[in-house]
Symmetry: D3
Subunit: 230 residues, 6 copies
């Protein structure tokens, strides 16, 4: 079960309201690389996991992503300010002015409604962890894009924090991968001839070969975690 505490995981501030940037920041509230997606992806995956260590990691991070979602939403809310003026908007999403009364919404920066199509859950731990590593990397990239569009120091500090947390999650997911890397969809990899072929279907150009396909394995970022802690 979840319990809510009124304080944020980390305090957020803004220098000044900025409804245009509020609309852009919506991307990480209700977009495909946003905090809601991350929280619900890891939570969804957790329901069928048997490995209690991995399950705990997924839930630790899912809970943190909910906390990030709160931080982003609170920042959007502050940036929306108190002066509704849709006509002065210069970016896409005017829903806050005409639909939600300046409340943060579950949409991306263009007003596309959040959809569970963003969530990947396969029931295979290797596939799910790789999905999460990719998701964290994409989230970092979007925060980098958002960072370069704003000078507000308060907002930048929040983005910095969130961006760095994605790195932390990413590293943790890789350690989790190392623990389960010989299981599930990682097994029986590259044993057929078909798995060794390269079809050069776009021409001109061929720059890669494939002689020795092996299942994914990461270099170990935190060797001390190779063995479970408990």
């Amino acid at each position: 079960m979840f319990k809510h505490e009124k304080h944020l995981l980390q305090e957020v501030k803004i220098d000044a309201p900025n409804p245009n940037y509020a609309a852009m920041l919506q991307e990480q509230l209700g977009g495909p690389q946003g905090e809601l997606k991350a929280a619900l992806q890891y939570l969804s995956q957790s329901f069928r996991i048997n490995d209690h260590e991995i399950k705990d990691l997924f839930l630790d991070i899912a809970a943190e992503e909910l906390a990030h979602m709160e931080m982003v939403a609170t920042t959007v809310n502050m940036l929306n300010g108190h002066t509704p003026d849709a006509n002065r908007a210069t970016v896409g999403n005017v829903q806050a002015h005409v639909l939600s009364g300046l409340s943060p919404m579950l949409t991306n920066a263009s007003g596309q409604l959040w959809t569970a199509a963003y969530v990947n859950c396969t029931g295979d731990l290797a596939a799910d962890i790789l999905s999460n590593i990719a998701a964290e990397q994409r989230a970092k990239v979007v925060y980098e894009y958002l960072h370069r569009q704003i000078n507000d120091k308060g907002v930048r500090d929040t983005i910095d924090f969130l961006l760095n947390r994605e790195e932390a999650h990413n590293s943790l997911f890789r350690e989790a991968f190392n623990r389960i890397q010989d299981t599930g969809s990682q097994k029986d990899w590259g044993v057929t001839e078909d798995s060794k072929l390269y079809f050069n279907l776009s021409t001109p150009g061929k720059y890669f070969d494939l002689n020795n396909p092996k299942p994914t394995s990461f270099n170990n970022p935190n060797p001390q975690n190779d063995r479970p802690m408990n």
Copy 2:
């Protein structure tokens, strides 16, 4: 530009029509881990890539995924047979009987329409390749699930081929990652205190530590590819 050749990348056969299984196999035609998604994800990503080697790889694989899509759709079409009987369907998607005249459709196994929400494209090579690695792994998992639901030898052979090709693509994407691994979103990783914290928000239990976050790096499946071939 694309050119079409009438023959399939690899011939497909079925032992007998099986409309229920046709509906299930739709998953890899119009579902989130299916061939259309893969083709359009790699194609979308390719448009802004400057590195001509990586771009060629993405397009080689995108073209192959289109060829896979044809193989899956042709198999669905054969499995749908010639006897429309929606009432005898025992799985979800009856659209083939009442909407498309037994044509394959751009939906998943439950009839959910394909959506570009399945496609991830960030303009950052590291993030995009990690997305592709995860996508290939998930696609393999879905083919494994489909494999265990059918005894038809022709269908199984096709699934085997497609499943093994996902492994090949996955290995190639990892090699591509190794070539660009110090660029873009991989830079300046783990340098802040925030990137080293672990928030133990789900209790009881804590099984991971995070002392030394590093950007993603894979063990090299094909060392001879470390240096570009050309």
Copy 3:
């Protein structure tokens, strides 16, 4: 921020796996009247609420809905069992067999992906609370429908609990409404001639009059709450 505790809000049990009913129960996990919708609706609304009493109520209930979501998902997971056999499915959603490896999904009973279009958030407290009252009533109705489709005692106990909690939430939202009933969109109601007209546009038949429009007000279920407690 949110913290997760491993135990459920209330323990769930099933008598036996039942994949068909698992698919139906998905309705309250990822459907329009389901627990995810409720949690995210109340959470979304809370971000801009100034009244700290109402805000706390919304967050108390939002957190509980997340806990309900976990209960439903855990039950779905148990009902899915361990034997994937999509061909024996007799209801709509076969995604669990071919996509998610028997994991619960963020879809309704027919496989439609969850969408933020289910969430209403207007920034007006009266409108939002009325939305929540209606949402709770609809959720109760869907649990009643689900209850009559199953004899499994464990599942019925869980549904009973959840159904009764919707009643509790509903009553609480009405009390909240009574506290704010003269504010926002409740003001200046029924003062124009236009607000008193009845257009009898469907014929034959006219059974209602409208002489004296007034803003919504509920009979008070818990008079002791009329005055804030603190």
Copy 4:
């Protein structure tokens, strides 16, 4: 069956074209609180209603909402004017300029396509009427937001009319509720211990109690309607 008459329910005028505001006003044509949603929600609910008085009321209002939809669409069309110039647009939805040739569209103010996910229909009269009361209140709120973004007298008159009609519908739905308030999902309310609990899951703060849950009942706005008219 429906018959169409060429004249509008009430004439609409504008002072001057205003493509930006046209895009905003789309919200009430193709948005979640808009006229199409209202019309189709009440019409959908009507199909299974046995109570001929309630059924007539739902259809009276559904037909009126279609008439409102025409008024909104006609106003949008006039506001779009005759000079396509997408580059001077300062709000979200440019579809009118590049897709529909300045025709009104079935989208909200940000271009999100209308979806039946906006429509609630449960087959339970109490739940459906509560849904309608909430829908009317939300529609009023959106009209208030739209009103404050425009000075055009013609548009303001139309919004005033539509806003007041939502109040009229709201009052009528409440009277309908009073007639059926002891039926369906209103029965057996608050009889279990579970329905009387308050889980204080968000802390700090607790401002409500729940001792005596009762089914929803409204103060009667039009006592003379308590007894059916016929």
Copy 5:
């Protein structure tokens, strides 16, 4: 404005309830070739039409499609019967049993929610009429598919009527096209070299030539309509 009359455009009957077929018939209520789509497409297109004859035709047919929608929904409602039993369902859409209390829904036969993505409206009369001709032809095809899946005489009579009305609409739209065939997007057709090329991109095989591109023109089904009637 629209007025509703309680009687249907044509009475509908069923021989016996048939929830499975009810789910299939949903296709023409809430699917891409269904009655709601047709009604809203023609209504949407009508808002900007200046030609009062064409506009009247579009609205005549839009109103009739609403009446068809009522006939389909009423039939679905009767076919759903009074015995909810989702477990005996053998087709996709179980929403009627667990969500809508056996009410007809705005979804297709697999439970996909209706979306305005089905509606085409370009503001160009030639393009819109061609869209409508194609839409009517597709609707006829889906009714043919539905006809062959049912023996119920009452249902077949209703389908026969609706199918034949699509033919009538189709013929009328062609007459409308003949009246406007030299306007809008029909002008300046085939004057460039590019419009005369044939790219033989799929091989082997080439079976068509293109020497003399001309704008669309139909053989005239009703010559007496060539001159407007008024």
Copy 6:
């Protein structure tokens, strides 16, 4: 199968970057009348076609539409330039700045994600060809709208080419229709009384009659194609 060649079907150029127009041009990449829709509609339809001449035509054009999609995407990419500045955007879609790193996306001009709801495939050749004729006409219209919003000579040349190719496809689809015009849904047309009725449901006004409904037939733009070439 598909093979990719690195050169475009026709070279594209731009005079200068123009991120606003890039967003508008997205309409023909990921919108309902865009190149992706066309390619996937014709490809989807081709899978069940038996007539090898028609099948080849559909695949010739499907492959060309993929080539068009590349031309549009390459142009969008060039127009997006290298200077991300979402705040200076004056049209709807800011996703390129905050989500995709200036990559072209599978969305329309307002950021709505591409959906397979845009694709019509019925398995009936007459209906499918009519759908394609309408689709080509709508695509031409959208290119006309896009043409009048830009002065960039390079972009205009590309639009000119694409617009004229839609005309070519349109003419070819009509020839294909003439070859199959007495088959499938074209048969048994207009033989019932119901198919000859006109319901004058929108008043005042009646300007069409329907005495002699016949199946669709086009005037022949290229008589020499009446007989298949092979």
